[in-house]
């Protein structure tokens, strides 16, 4: 077969390669392909590394914590069990959710329905800053403002104050997430309602919010998973929680899982470590379960709105 080396693309000299040659790499392509493959391996290794760390940590928690788990462990108080910490965390996170969810949804509604460009960017900025606030500072604030006897309100330690602090952490997550959900709702629904002369507030309550409910639920669950693991604010606001009995009253200091784990990890007592591993296992299980479940819900609702 005759080669087709002719005048090159510019008509001055032949092409640097033979177009009729087999389609294997010419020129410097072999080297470039090797390098490209190498970078692909690096990227894959990075991903595998991240998953490996996840597996290692979870495996360690399961391996060390599984022995501590028993019915007594979950239902009894110190020294056999950690029920006060579990219940305390549940109460605190529950209060935080009750405060943060309406606030977050309202802020998202404001951003989506009412805010002009300048107001929207101001409020978005507020949410960004709130999201980036170190949790320890949130705790410090509520300590000064509410708990410290010599502070502004001087109320002493209480579970509901810890809930309030966690809600500050949850609100930006719920607001941003809900905003995303609201944006997915096709405008045609509210436009149709407007065309029929329905008042804005009726449209929001009866058309928009119901459509967004699934997404809001998902976002809330994810925020709960996040708040359940927060330690810093609780350390300052409810560290005196009683671990020897289950307390439901939010006006008292409540025991909580994360603070218990922290305290035990700082003590040099190996006997306490088992309890800490057990608590860790319980909390990680809840959080991972909630996260995965929420994401599955999100995937399903995305498929529904896009169909």
């Amino acid at each position: 077969m005759s080669s087709t080396l002719g005048s090159g693309g510019f008509g001055d000299r032949p092409r640097a390669y033979d177009p009729a040659a087999p389609l294997t790499p010419t020129g410097n392509l072999r080297r470039r392909q090797i390098f490209s493959k190498f970078t692909e391996y690096l990227a894959t290794a990075a991903a595998i590394g991240a998953i490996a760390v996840l597996v290692i940590v979870i495996y360690a928690v399961v391996q060390h914590g599984i022995d501590a788990i028993s019915w007594d462990f979950i239902t009894k108080s110190a020294p056999e069990g950690v029920a006060p910490a579990l219940v305390g965390s549940a109460v605190i996170v529950g209060i935080a959710t009750l405060i943060a969810t309406p606030l977050g949804v309202l802020i998202a509604l404001y951003l989506n329905e009412y805010a002009g460009r300048r107001a929207a960017s101001f409020v978005s900025l507020t949410m960004d800053v709130m999201n980036g606030l170190p949790a320890i500072i949130v705790g410090l604030f509520f300590f000064t403002f509410m708990v410290n006897q010599k502070g502004t309100l001087g109320l002493g330690q209480a579970g509901w104050i810890a809930g309030l602090a966690l809600s500050i952490i949850m609100v930006p997550l719920i607001a941003r997430g809900t905003q995303g959900v609201l944006r997915l709702i096709p405008k045609s629904q509210s436009e149709a309602a407007d065309a029929l002369g329905v008042a804005r507030w009726r449209t929001v309550l009866s058309v928009i919010l119901p459509s967004a409910l699934g997404g809001i639920l998902t976002v809330t669950i994810l925020s709960i998973a996040r708040a359940a693991g927060e330690t810093a604010p609780l350390l300052l606001l409810t560290s005196n929680g009683d671990i020897s009995r289950v307390v439901l009253n939010p006006f008292e200091a409540l025991a909580s899982g994360p603070t218990r784990i922290y305290t035990l990890s700082e003590e040099a007592n190996p006997a306490g470590f088992t309890e800490a591993w057990g608590l860790s296992l319980l909390f990680i299980s809840f959080i991972l379960f909630a996260s995965l479940g929420a994401r599955a819900l999100l995937a399903r609702s995305k498929r529904k709105t896009s169909s």
């Binding site: 002719g6 005048s7 693309g9 510019f10 390669y17 009729a20 389609l23 392909q33």
Partner: protein, 301 residues
Amino acid sequence: MNLPPSRVRIRTDQPAVPSSANGTGSVALPDAVTTSAEAHWDTPPEVVFDSREVSVFYGAKQALAGVNLGIRRGQITALIGPSGCGKTTFLRSLNRMNDSVPDFRIEGEILYHGHDIYGGNVDQVEVRRRIGMVFQKPNPFPKSIYDNIAWAPRNLGMRSGLSERVEKALRGAALWDEVKDRLKDSALGLSGGQQQRLCIARAIAIEPDVLLLDEPASALDPIATGAIEDLMHSLKGRFTIVIVTHNMQQAARVADRTAFFSLETGGEKPVGSLIEFDDTERIFSSPRDPRTRDYVTGRFG
């Protein structure tokens, strides 16, 4: 150079095909002939692309059925037909740009200079190095004009004489005079027509063997379109050009050979097929197939 007479008449400027060349490098370099006299061939130029019973599937859906087509060196081959009949799919299959489309499957063979493009030892990147493509919507990189053109040659290791290469590419794309004073400016500041010519310059800068053009002027105004068409005349011969166009007049003005694709509704679902493939004059003046006649006379599509 005296060329033997022939019955087949081919339009305008066309440099001579080298009469013989061997792989070890001594080649009879032709003059870049620009006579207005007709050039005659008694053997047509060699086949660059030989498509044999090529069918394309996206998952279960068949987009193209049994395309048999031969594209010859140095010519401009146009692929025309109504939208959705598979011409762009076929074009993109020629340089393996469909590989990244999910569930893409191809049957049959596409032979490039006798080598199966989808064969085992084939390097996809090498394929695209030899077979360049210009897209429908201009897609310059957010870099300077110079860097847009110089990017690919730099990758290929062509670092010496880079400025000359960039200039030749811009001249080849008829853009040099307009941008020679502002090579460092962002390419995104050019007009649509200029951006498309930039994309053409970018493609020819690495001297591919073939240029595939996917409706290059459809996003441009008539004046810019005219500039692109003039460009193609000056590029052919040095490059083998395959152009997809939905503009029949453009195909008539520019192409040596034209392939008419359409949707065949014979089976249960419509599938893109090659209806007729011939010299452009024949396709437009006396097509053999009634479907071709209907299309080129504007009865449908």
